[in-house]
């Protein structure tokens, strides 16, 4: 797939993160309760994550859209998708029924559609990462790193 197609896909993922982050920033208290409902973190952990995570998403999303700090943003995006799939995926086996909190308090999509959707996004992110770390000629790599820095 061409570089421009990769950029479009990355920008699409970036927009998702931007929207998700901005919606959570609107009501961090509600987001903290959503995190608490996963019953993984204690209250103080949920509060810390509720304050911090939306901004990570916003900066990561902006980096992907603007193609700045690209590789780092891809790594973070992959990590966030994996973390979320793990956390949300564990809710049904634990008998929990949580509002996802992905796009702000109260958002609720079906269990499997959400997991599959995020699985596809994770796969796309990993594929983009693999394309980034593909061996290149030293000249091309140096030029790309300089532009991305």
């Amino acid at each position: 797939m061409s570089r421009s197609s990769q950029r479009i896909i990355a920008a699409g993922i970036g927009v998702i993160f931007l929207i998700a982050g901005m919606m959570k920033v609107l009501d961090p208290a509600a987001f903290a309760v959503d995190i608490l409902n996963y019953r993984i973190l204690p209250w103080t952990g949920a509060v810390a994550l509720a304050l911090y995570l939306p901004w990570v998403e916003i900066f990561c999303g902006a980096a992907l859209v603007l193609h700045r700090g690209y590789r780092g943003a891809l790594c973070i995006a992959a990590g966030l998708f994996a973390m979320f799939i793990g956390a949300y995926g564990s809710t049904r086996p634990r008998g929990l029924d949580v509002a996802c909190g992905c796009f702000g308090h109260g958002a609720h999509r079906g269990y499997w559609p959400l997991l599959i959707g995020d699985g596809l996004l994770l796969a796309a992110t990993l594929w983009l990462l693999k394309a980034e770390f593909r061996p290149l000629s030293p000249v091309i790599r140096a030029g790309r790193e300089e532009r991305a820095g």
């Binding site: 103080t44 901004w55 780092g72």
Partner: protein, 136 residues
């Protein structure tokens, strides 16, 4: 690889600054305290505390915190409007049940937060027993 790590760290560190700002200034910032409050703290809130008694009707009739409203799960639909009418955004809701070990106040508090989406919902540490002990 080192470039990716540097970029990761940059993004993660950049996010700290607005996160701190959110925690300090956002009008809907969450409280760092856990949702439990002691009798002393809840009483210090004065009229802004809205006391909610999560015990069964018979226990409420036998004695309750002055001004408390009953809201138990057996009669949730009947009793909820009374709590909603007494509430306004400036009040802190303090839910209690009989004692330290009872779970009912936590369940009622959870539902007030999740279903009714009320902010500032707390659970009284030690419940009715702690209130009575504090009166002595």
């Amino acid at each position: 690889m080192s470039l990716a790590i540097r970029q990761c760290l940059t993004i993660l560190l950049l996010a700290v600054i607005p996160a701190i700002g959110t925690g300090v200034w956002h009008p809907k910032r969450p409280s760092w305290q856990s949702d439990e409050v002691t009798v002393a703290v809840a009483r210090s809130w004065g009229a802004s505390a809205l006391w909610v008694d999560a015990r069964a009707d018979a226990d409420f009739e036998n004695g309750h915190i002055p001004g408390a409203l009953p809201l138990n799960e057996e009669r949730w639909d009947d009793l909820l409007p009374g709590v909603v009418d007494a509430w306004d955004p400036g009040r802190k809701i303090v839910v209690y049940c009989s004692s330290l070990s009872c779970q009912t106040s936590r369940d009622v508090a959870r539902r007030l937060r999740e279903e009714v989406s009320l902010p500032n919902v707390f659970v009284l540490q030690g419940g009715w027993e702690a209130w009575e002990a504090a009166q002595k």
